[in-house]
């Protein structure tokens, strides 16, 4: 199978969907002539032209709202946020208009928009540029949110997001853009709402999404090699809809769970998962569900410190050792 980067995988998804459906339009700051701030859309403007790949001014509330409006009539905009952090200037459009228009119209309208871009810390861009609001979004009925961890998932989920008739917010990760993985040439789509057991194991379930999945996989390897502990790694992939059954099944098998995420701890996704597990697996658990999140402060700039602010494999290893 071809090995390509996470970035290329997303680009292929966009390219294929541009070809499949003439209503698909890529939009965002620097996505066209500049090829994208992170080169995700590289070459697409050249190939598809001004109508299908559109540069916007720095007006997130304006252009995302515009995309929502256009989607109500049938354009299928795939909007890039250069950073997901910039969502906050467009928050009302994203949380009110996109999420509630269907409801408030009694189902007369739907809003097939995709909003995508990187949402992550770890690149020393500071507190205002490192937000990861998947928990805010998943709190909001009417929205869907996915956080792919691998090139394969990124492509498959992006295609599903574009074909979905509800607003789907896709959170990528600049740290992962250059990571490679196998991605088949043949067309495929990954249904939104299906978790993926990225590694089977029997001693403890590590439950994660986005880059934290990679961190868990590394930790699992160390734990297996150095400590003889067999971790199962559950990649949520989609936060809302959520594949609760895969989580529960895993915990029923391992009897232990650790949630790992790069978000801040308070009301993070890990809180929801821990709350779910203690509810559904109360008698299966050999100990409390553990949680690892970012160190609870705004993202620090200083590069060596930011490394420690986000979950890292050795930290997961230590926590697992303390838990089993």
């Amino acid at each position: 199978m071809p090995v390509i980067t996470y970035r290329e995988a997303i680009r292929h998804a966009l390219d294929e969907e541009l070809a499949r459906d003439e209503n698909v339009v890529i939009m965002g700051e620097e996505v066209a002539q500049y090829d994208g701030a992170y080169k995700v859309t590289q070459g697409l403007w050249k190939k598809w032209g001004d109508k299908r790949v559109v540069d916007t001014p720095i007006s997130e509330a304006g252009f995302i709202g515009m995309g929502i409006g256009a989607s109500m009539l049938g354009v299928r905009p795939v909007m890039e946020l250069m950073f997901w952090s910039f969502a906050y200037v467009a928050w009302d459009q994203m949380i009110n208009n996109a999420a509630t228009i269907r409801y408030m119209s009694g189902g007369k309208i739907n809003c097939p928009i995709v909003i995508r871009g990187p949402a992550n810390g770890g690149t020393n861009v500071g507190a205002t540029h490192s937000h990861t609001p998947e928990n805010f979004i998943a709190n909001t009925p009417g929205l869907k949110v996915v956080c792919p961890a691998t090139p394969y998932d990124a492509k498959g989920l992006m295609k599903a997001a574009i074909r979905d008739n509800d607003p789907v917010y896709v959170m990528e990760n600049t740290v992962l853009y250059g990571e490679t993985g196998e991605v088949p040439d043949e067309e495929y789509v990954i249904p939104i709402g299906v978790a993926d057991v990225k590694r089977e194991g029997s001693d403890i379930s590590l439950i994660a999404h986005g880059r934290a999945v990679i961190t868990c996989l590394k930790a699992a390897e160390i734990l297996a090699e150095e400590h003889g502990i067999d971790c199962e790694v559950v990649d949520l992939r989609s936060i809302r809809p959520l594949d609760e059954e895969t989580i529960i099944e895993s915990v029923r098998k391992t009897n232990r769970a650790l949630c790992v995420e790069e978000n801040k701890p308070f009301c993070g996704v890990g809180a929801q998962i821990a709350s779910l597990i203690q509810d559904r697996c109360f008698d299966d658990l050999d100990g409390p569900v553990g949680r690892i999140s970012a160190v609870d402060a705004p993202a620090i700039y200083s590069p060596p410190l930011e490394k420690l602010q986000l979950p890292y494999p050795e930290q997961v290893v230590q926590k697992v050792l303390a838990m089993v």
Binding site: S59, I68, A70, V75, M104, P141, G193
Partner: protein, 364 residues
Amino acid sequence: MKPSVADPEHHIDPTDFAQAEINKSLSPETKIRLLRDMIRIRRFEETAGKHYNAGKMGGFLHRYDGQESIAVGCASLMGAHDHMITAYRNHGHALSVGMSMEECMAELFGRATGCSKGKGGSMHFFAPDKNYWGGHGIVGGQSPLGAGLAYYVKYKGLKGSCMCFMGDGAVNQGAYHESLNLAGLFDLPVIYVIENNGYSMGTSQARSSVYKNCLAYRADGYDIVWDLINGWDLYEVRAKMQIAVKRAHEESRPTVVEINTYRHYGHSVADSKAKVYRAEDEIERFKQHHDPIQLWRNRLMEEGVITEAVYQELDKAAKAEAVASVDFAEASAYPEFEDITKDVYFEVDEFTEAGRTGRHFFND
């Protein structure tokens, strides 16, 4: 700095808008229909207000009394690809595009037969089949949506437009300005219509906005053509709006118009200071001399298009229709408990594969 209509190419005599082509071509029947449409709005609002005060509704009720000529005048210019979107003071727009009083009243009563199945309420009427996109509660929040509806029109190569309405208070929301720049930059056939009734809740225009000339003039900084309209004259509304519609259709360019108007009642029915922040005589003056319905009625009488009897008949019919809509609403059922989680996700409602994958709702 010259407003759009001042452009001589439009051949409009600003002292007699009745002579504008779009008005000259009106048949007596259509003129009467416009009157009827305005009266229907007035009677709908009065009836709704009465039942609101009787505790039959929840939430807000923002009445449109006094502003009818705007929604009716603008809607009368809409063709197959002209769209409309507005803020929460949206009953007039809804009725103007042809929504029934029944579905609207039932919505206010929170019934499943309401236009939004009782989910939206007073601020959220919708009729996409009539090119009507609501009904939005966040001040200014609809302005990018309006640009987006126009984006679709342009994207599909249609001759159309989107009229996006907003209040005088809404011009101070950032989203509106972002929309202006986008509309100008992308050549969107959107028409921003500022319904300037002089107040945002209890705050007069002077206390909420700094401006030169008028609020619409801010468009000049975006090189967007603007105009100022006397809203009480239906002929003027139609004549000047038609220029904007034509610009949208033929040049795919935006326009900003500001239409002076007045709301006869409070910001919402529950407006504790409705008679404090506006002088009694100001209110009276507008009701007496600037009521668009009375002015249009007088005009049509002068023109010999109607008699007082015709007017009375229209009024009676509108009243009866409003009363009947209340009967309809009251006879309708409320939504069921299960309906609360319907109309959240298209894919779930349609029982698609995507709607069945993963858990979508999270109550235990």
